[in-house]
């Protein structure tokens, strides 16, 4: 029997890009069996746009009552896909345009990697480009010490430690064993925590032949040197979430390195004292903050 693939897109007030994202998913050479769109309570014309996909039986729109952030949206979508019986869940943001063979290459590359490594691979992700064709600075996965292991065997695939939620293919097995992303994280570091968590039995892979485009306003990575009063809310989530992860699930030395690194970035970026204090408070909050992942139920 053919495996069932469900794509999950989480969207919030990005109606201008969402249609192109969905069209690119529905036009894959290896067709998706389901496309679950999580509308994180958008206040723009997203519902109207999504209504126009009503004729396609593959598309299911779930409108959440409140904005639960990327973490809540991906958790809701992955849970829905799992309950619908998906063997693979392919997740991405609402500004990710997929190359037409992106899914096909992910599936092929994932299978080939498992065969070569002789173990289950917890996830695979695509190469993420910026709109001008260059590498997307924000979505570069971390690599393992033996990142070239599969390249040496003729596969165009890199062994990685973690990645962001921009075109990630997750087998049902990983969700069954490790549950869903942490809804409580709301935004930032939810993808890192999740891909690290599901890699407990071995790292994931990046399939370089599978290509997507991340249509961000600027092609910049993020660091605490960019913190300012308009984006502080997002950095505060990041500080709390990473502190929580490093303290509770990594090791205390890495937590200390994270704290020092954050401080150094903020100093270099000349971040105001008030905002630095705000970050320090969130780092301390992370010591008490330790949410438990929700597990999934088998329905079909």
């Amino acid at each position: 029997m053919t495996d069932l693939v469900a794509a999950v897109v989480v969207t919030y007030n990005r109606v201008d890009k969402l249609g192109r994202v969905l069209d690119s998913i529905l036009a894959q050479t290896r067709a998706v069996d389901q496309l679950i769109v999580i509308d994180n309570a958008s206040s723009d014309s997203t519902p109207e746009l999504l209504a126009s996909y009503g004729d396609d039986p593959r598309v299911e729109v779930v409108r959440l009552e409140t904005n639960t952030g990327g973490a809540g949206g991906f958790a809701a979508g992955m849970e829905k896909a799992y309950e619908r019986g998906a063997d693979w869940v392919w997740i991405m943001d609402d500004d990710c345009y997929t190359g037409e063979t992106a899914l096909e290459k992910l599936l092929d590359g994932h299978t080939a990697a498992e065969k070569e490594l002789d173990r289950k691979v917890p996830y695979s992700c695509s190469l993420v480009r910026y709109t001008d064709g260059s590498i997307c600075e924000m979505n570069n996965p971390g690599t393992t010490w033996d990142w070239g292991r599969l390249i040496a065997k003729g596969q165009n695939t890199v062994v990685i430690t973690n990645c962001s939620f921009v075109s990630v293919l997750i087998p049902r097995r990983s969700i069954a064993r490790y549950g869903l992303p942490l809804v409580e994280y709301f935004i930032w570091f939810d993808d890192m925590e999740y891909t690290l968590r599901i890699s407990a039995d071995g790292p994931g892979v990046q399939i370089l032949d599978s290509v997507v485009t991340h249509d961000m306003p600027d092609n910049r990575g993020v660091n605490f040197g960019d913190l300012n009063s308009s984006n502080a809310w997002k950095f505060y989530y990041g500080a709390r979430n990473e502190s929580s992860y490093r303290w509770h699930h990594d090791n205390k030395l890495d937590w200390l390195k994270f704290v020092l690194g954050t401080y150094v970035w903020m100093r270099r970026g000349r971040v105001s004292r008030r905002l630095q204090l705000g970050v320090a408070k969130r780092i301390l909050a992370g010591l008490k903050f330790n949410p438990v992942p929700k597990q999934v139920r088998s329905v079909r």
Binding site: G85, R172, R173, A176, R297, V299, R300
Partner: protein, 546 residues
């Protein structure tokens, strides 16, 4: 008179009823005696047996195949009912040995069934255990469920046995000439007692007969086997074993089965003895197809699912009845997907149970809201928890409410006692079989399932067919049937809190009740797109004919 296959000729009926007509033995006792004599006829082919038949007091377990059959003495509370003479018709003779073999078959007493509950222990420990269990059932259950969580997460995963290596030998058969004989399927059951797994096992035995196979049915648990008289067993070869078998008789029995019959397949339902011998069968004859049917995961011990995983490399296909079990085997335990077949059971001998097209409003708006519990009154179903929930619910609502508890079982006395203790006598009706479940559902607005473990509950299919909303503990594969809104925690205090709140919401909103019912209906329709267990098994057996 039992219609099961006999591997012996009757030399002297001894007024037992074995040869037909009225005799000293009941139908059930005749079934046990035939089963025991079949076993001894296989073990000692061609011999003549002079058999003393004993009956024990109520609750005494039968001893049909163990060492006591060869001891020519018995307990003082056993009565000799008759003495019968039979000769094994199994080929092969006694050689130089005396052809006459004395046997003592103890048929036990009535009502020795159900196995032992976890609180049935001897001595002071048992006394303390029972006092705690029955003195404070909810608090005791809370501790027990907490312990289950610890076992599930920390203990059971560490106790998992190594998986048996795959059998590389492809030997086809030790005795190819046996292929000429009537093809047979070997079935392994726990016992012949009432239960969902047993009902399915008997149905599959009937399917094997329909497909032209001789079913050979082995049980490995002591019981009075009240279902040994079921018509599905007519024409089958029944072997109700009393374990342990003496000396080398395990080996003698296996060899006799393999040499006397053309065994094409083995279907294990719940039978630990047969599970452990599957590898031997596969090694002796690789063409024997092996399948097991799995219903439920036991979190404390692993249960049969754990045994099945351990022996997975010797089993051709695991038949599972729920998506939960399929995912557990394939995703959590890495059993290859192609060796796991999901074919749910719906409506065992109860018709189609097709859900109605649309939910009507409550049956009778004028009558009190009615909440029911339907199921055996056993530890697994936790009727005491339902009663505590009912008491709490009644205290927290202003309108009239009515409860029905429909069932019977080991906890019947406790149930009656708790109805009084919780002050529910004036609003709770206790119904017992043979009163029909349909009648109770027709009177109900909400069915509550308080079990601490389940597979796929048949009552949810039945309830949905009668437009009754279901509120259930979130256990086993209940999520495949019950609305996500109506799944509540297994832990007793959390169960009471959430179930009471949800019931109040349902009572206040017919729209919510309808939404829950609609989701039940959708889930059942989706589930019915999967192959059904009977059709799947029929096709499987047809394939074993070749």
């Amino acid at each position: 008179m039992t219609n099961a296959r006999k591997l012996f000729e009757i030399v002297d009926d001894g007024d037992s009823g074995l040869a037909g007509g009225d005799g000293r033995l009941s139908e059930r006792e005749l079934g046990l005696l035939v089963g025991a004599l079949n076993y001894h006829s296989l073990i000692q082919p061609g011999r003549e047996f002079k058999t003393v038949v004993l009956r024990g007091p109520d609750g005494a377990l039968p001893r049909l195949t163990n060492a006591s059959c060869h001891l020519l003495e018995w307990d003082s509370d056993r009565a000799v009912v008759c003495t019968v003479g039979v000769r094994s018709s199994v080929s092969g003779g006694p050689g130089g040995a005396s052809p006459l073999v004395p046997l003592v078959i103890d048929l036990g007493g009535e009502g020795s069934e159900g196995g032992a509950a976890f609180y049935d222990r001897a001595g002071l420990k048992g006394k303390v255990f029972r006092r705690a269990r029955f003195g404070a059932p909810i608090a005791f259950d809370a501790l027990r469920q907490g312990l289950t969580d610890v076992y599930e997460k920390r203990v059971t995963p560490k106790r998992r046995a190594h998986r048996m290596a795959a059998i590389e030998s492809t030997a086809m058969s030790v005795t190819p000439s046996n292929k000429e004989r009537q093809p047979a399927i070997l079935f392994g059951l726990h016992w012949f007692e009432m239960g969902g797994a047993e009902r399915w096992a008997l149905e599959s035995i009937a399917l094997a007969k329909e497909a032209g196979f001789l079913p050979i049915v082995v049980t490995d648990r002591d019981s009075s086997h009240p279902w040994i008289t079921r018509p599905e067993l007519d024409g089958t070869l029944v072997l109700p074993l009393s374990i342990p078998l003496p000396g080398n008789e395990d080996a003698d029995l296996l060899l006799a089965l393999l040499s006397e019959f053309s065994i094409r397949g083995i279907h294990v339902h719940h039978n630990g003895w047969l599970y452990e011998r599957l590898a031997w069968f596969k090694a002796m004859d690789h063409s024997i197809q092996i399948v097991d049917s799995l219903h439920i995961i036991e979190w404390r011990t692993g249960g049969f699912v754990e045994v099945a995983v351990k022996l997975s490399n010797t089993i051709d296909v695991h038949h599972v009845i729920s998506p939960h079990l399929r995912d557990y085997l394939t995703l959590e335990r890495d059993v290859p997907k192609e060796r796991v077949a999901l074919a749910p059971l719906y409506g065992l001998n109860t018709g189609d149970n097709a859900p109605a097209a649309a939910a009507p409003a409550r049956k009778d708006q004028g009558s009190p809201f009615t909440v029911s519990f339907i199921g055996r009154l056993t530890q697994q179903k936790r009727p005491y928890l339902f009663l505590r929930y009912a008491a709490q619910l009644r205290r927290s609502v202003r309108e009239d409410i009515r409860f029905i508890v429909h069932g019977d079982g080991m906890l019947a006395d406790e149930t009656v006692r708790l109805i009084t203790r919780y002050g529910l006598s004036d609003c709770l009706e206790l119904r017992r079989p043979p009163r029909s479940v349909e009648e109770t559902l027709a009177d109900s607005d909400l069915l509550v399932i308080s079990s601490d473990n389940e597979g796929l509950t048949l009552t949810t299919f039945e309830a949905t067919a009668q437009n009754v909303a279901v509120l259930s503990t979130d256990v086993g594969s209940q999520a495949s049937l019950v609305s996500a809104k109506a799944l509540v925690p297994r832990q007793p205090f959390a169960f009471i809190k959430h179930a009471v709140e949800l019931t109040k919401d349902i009572m206040a909103s017919e729209e919510l009740r309808t939404r829950i019912l609609d989701e039940q209906r959708e889930k059942i329709i989706a589930l019915k797109e999967l192959p059904e267990a009977r059709a799947w098994t029929k096709t499987l057996y047809e394939g074993w004919k070749a």
